[in-house]
Symmetry: D2
Subunit: 104 residues, 4 copies
């Protein structure tokens, strides 16, 4: 875990209202990754495996964009409104997360 | 499954020699995605979840690059050496797979 | 131009304090793209051209992450603090921008 | 320039037949990057600048995919058909280029 300025937020993460939806998406991605193992196990043609790897990657990126939206909406805006110094830290932290996403 | 020009290759995919390694990597990614569900379930801080989503995405992209390497090495080069027309189809197909990867 | 909820911000964009730096980075990227034309014109080896295309792409993505940081810091946090409804619109808009970045 | 196994290909790069098209695309991207400088200079709203950065990035990635297609088609397939050892080097080199693209 990173040292982050909002450890007190841990019990109410930004995605609190969408928790079931995030879990359902991740469950589906787990199924996609298990499907990939089955494809490889059955010697599926490389390009068809690659197509499914791209689909799973897209699904993960989509989860990330949704988590980021919730985070900005609830943690950054709300946490930042109370305290400008903390707002600055929250933005720096969020931008670094976007940077990791863009590069992954 | 896509209609591809090399259905006869299906029984000997490009990754045949690395099958155990590809499966081990996918198994590890499945574990990462299950770990993500645990993190969300335990209300882990958004940014820490995002960091792990980026790690799983990177791991998937890395599997894709390895599959593509095997595919070029074994299916495209070998399949293409025998028949120039087929080589052209195989390159078009491989390039489209790269396009999907780059965009995902 | 998109229809956005903050047209009144146009005269003081989030990057106002870093304008010279953003312009210098873009100038450098313009130079990279001109360098690419020279490489192609001189029949440079494909892989060397591709390496430079990747470098220019990375430089553009880095400009984007910096612009986003400034935007979150100045437009979203500050604009959002004043008005919760507007904050919601600003987050939606910023998330869509991140989505386009991640997919590009 | 990288040390690559095909320096003798430099005078006939894979994109030789599409040189005018590649140059036209790069010229257009140069225009997009200059347009970005104008936007920043005129204090255009951050999100509109970001949209154009994403468009320029996509255009660069598209040039890259095209260059890779030409490279696989002409340099890798043709160079590789003559000499299996060289084919192996060419694939390794091409895969590394894809890896840089995917991460950029």
């Amino acid at each position: 875990m990173s040292e982050h300025p909002t450890s007190d937020h841990a019990s109410h993460p930004g995605y609190a209202d969408h928790k079931a939806d995030v879990l359902a998406r991740l469950k589906r991605i787990e199924g996609q990754v298990r499907g990939l193992q089955r494809m490889v196990d059955e010697d599926t043609y490389c390009i068809d495996v690659l197509t499914q790897v791209s689909a799973a990657t897209k699904a993960l990126q989509s989860v990330a964009v949704n988590l980021l939206d919730d985070h900005l909406r609830h943690c950054v805006i709300e946490g930042g409104a109370a305290d400008p110094e903390r707002a600055a830290e929250l933005v720096t932290e969020a931008t670094r997360a976007v940077e990791r996403l863009v590069k992954s």
